[in-house]
Assembly symmetry: C3
Homo-oligomer: 267 residues x 3
């Protein structure tokens, strides 16, 4: 099967199987993350209590850990969730929001990484900070570096933690120990909407929850949100209508639209 | 007065009297819950601190307790709120999100129920789990059962706690010790928007905050959101535009639209 | 330069310099606050952990403290943030949501005020409660008083804390020790959207983060959101589409639209 068909098959699988995705994510994006998951066909759970995390992971297909608005309690929940996912073989995605911005974030990330996230998705600055590959400063939660500058950092994370790394940006780059995939879908206006990176992370979680080929699952999720963003941008007057239209597009996108717009390359 | 007129009268009462509704609800839905209440004419408060809950309930017309993203602190707040509402005779609504999904949720729900919620609103799986009427598994927060399968569970809750139960689904069923009401308003696309059930719960809170006939108040709230959803679906391209249009419709809905679409039956 | 040109220059400065705004705000509005900041050209951070607040403030241009959904932990974070902003000379804005509604809120506000907020923005009821200028009751988080009734309270806060006070309402009134500015932009439908006051507060934070003339910065932020609201209302069917259109307008608003609609008066 061609890579194009494999990717679309993943989109259809999520719509058919409706994987249950357990999110420990940030307050800012919970609503549109849940809506993005629902629109793509998945079933979101948002739960963070230490008293129930292990049971919630038990009934879920995958776990998202996004440190956006972490605090001391939530970081303990996240570590417990990562540990549980790791020990029970449940796929999980780490979104290292604002890595490098404070020492607290870096300490928590260093406690999460040993539980070997199936996938790490971040912007270039975050991936660089996470790997401590160099000292590029993170400016808040937005990236000040380009995706290709983070490739060495990503490779280092792949080697150390056996993870797949997805560096998102104008070009998304997906790296594992065997290959690099470059995706050029998306639209610049998407950077003016809060939390679309977090939605991408959540979609990755939905896709890896049911796919056998995890790299193709990550690629399918990134292509899906990128194309949905392109289609949405064409009918939007600004960032808020883009957010609305993007979620609508996740729900309505067709095979034809997907194939017509797909811009992916594997090396 | 006909039941139809009584229901519309409730909608108008909320618009005129703007009841103050105190919400202890989940992070995912706080924004659209507040906007749904405002659009329907009510005045929302979101507050959860143990240090102020009793005072907040003192100035409110009703209280919503929604356990969606509960944790140990929030569960204590909720129990304090339920106790305060019960002892001061303030109407309150319980939304048992994800009942049955974890033992923590069930423990908290078992501590809340003795404070006799005026109304419980949940999907069929949640109502069944809440009554432990059988062992149907909850799949996350979405229902895997039909409304009618939960009727026995609902009757058991009515008997034990003197509450009104609203099972929401394709058909909404409202049950108290005297009657059963069936509502067939709404649209399937509403299940693809996160938290519309929570919005329904909040609207119930607004309506019972000022109405004498609590059962008619619950029915009016469910009809209102159902019809708003139908009107919204006709002008929406997907779930995100449905959410926007539904809140707009809560604000603009007319007597004529309400009467034309009302699908209610009492047994 | 005319006051009109000074105001527009502020709007352009935010778009060019993209100030980093650190928000400790409430759960209800985090998403649309972040989106309002992004649309206006600023860069939002939402973070509340005591373990990282000081570092976050270190990299930010300004700080927002909004007590909407405060609790015991968050109030400690807020006090630490206010203290840090004050001692490091970082401009900060206080949004005293629901001041006067509970004694807990008032206690926390009394601990925040000595750190001399650069700006306080609230509705008339909140400003009155904050100054304890009289005993007008706050009805939840919505104002029951008119802006002009709060002028004495505002003057008292200016004198005691060296702050700028912005009373928002049908007419926004900005007061410091030298002047009073009256702004009549905005639209009544804005009161039916949750958290537009909080968005105004956040925009004030963005503007004072880079402006030398803080009073003009506050005025520019209030005019901007007021005009964006007017333009949005003309194309909206209700409060939810107003929210979407308002954020789009923050992103697209032109010099011509700004000058055509500006309604400001200085005394």
């Amino acid at each position: 099967m061609s890579m194009e068909k494999i990717l679309w098959e993943q989109v259809q699988l999520v719509r058919q199987k409706s994987p249950l995705v357990h999110n420990i994510t940030n307050y800012v994006v919970m609503n549109n993350t849940a809506n993005a998951l629902l629109a793509a066909g998945a079933s979101p759970i948002m739960a963070h209590a230490k008293s129930e995390i292990q049971e919630m992971i038990g009934i879920s297909h995958s776990v998202i850990i996004n440190i956006g608005t972490l605090d001391e309690y939530w970081s303990e929940s996240m570590i417990l969730a990562a540990k549980t996912a790791h020990s029970t073989g449940k796929p999980w995605v780490l979104d290292p929001v604002g890595a490098g911005a404070t020492s607290f974030r870096d300490q928590v990330l260093n406690q999460l990484l040993p539980y070997q996230p199936t996938v790490i998705r971040g912007n270039a600055s975050e991936i660089i900070a996470l790997a401590k590959a160099n000292t590029t400063a993170t400016k808040g939660v937005d990236s000040t570096a380009q995706s290709n500058e983070a490739v060495d950092a990503a490779r280092s994370l792949v080697t150390r933690y056996g993870t797949i790394v997805c560096i998102s940006g104008e070009t998304d780059i997906i790296i594992d120990h065997q290959q690099e995939i470059f995706i050029k879908n998306g639209h610049p206006l998407m950077t003016k909407v809060t939390g679309l990176g977090c939605s991408a992370t959540a979609l990755i979680g939905a896709f890896i929850g049911i796919a056998e080929d995890k790299v193709m699952a990550v690629a399918a999720a990134m292509v899906l949100i990128g194309i949905a963003g392109e289609l949405a941008a064409e009918e939007s007057k600004g960032p808020a209508s883009l957010q609305v239209n993007l979620i609508d597009q996740l729900y309505t996108i067709t095979e034809q639209e997907f194939f017509n717009r797909l811009k992916i390359e594997r090396k």
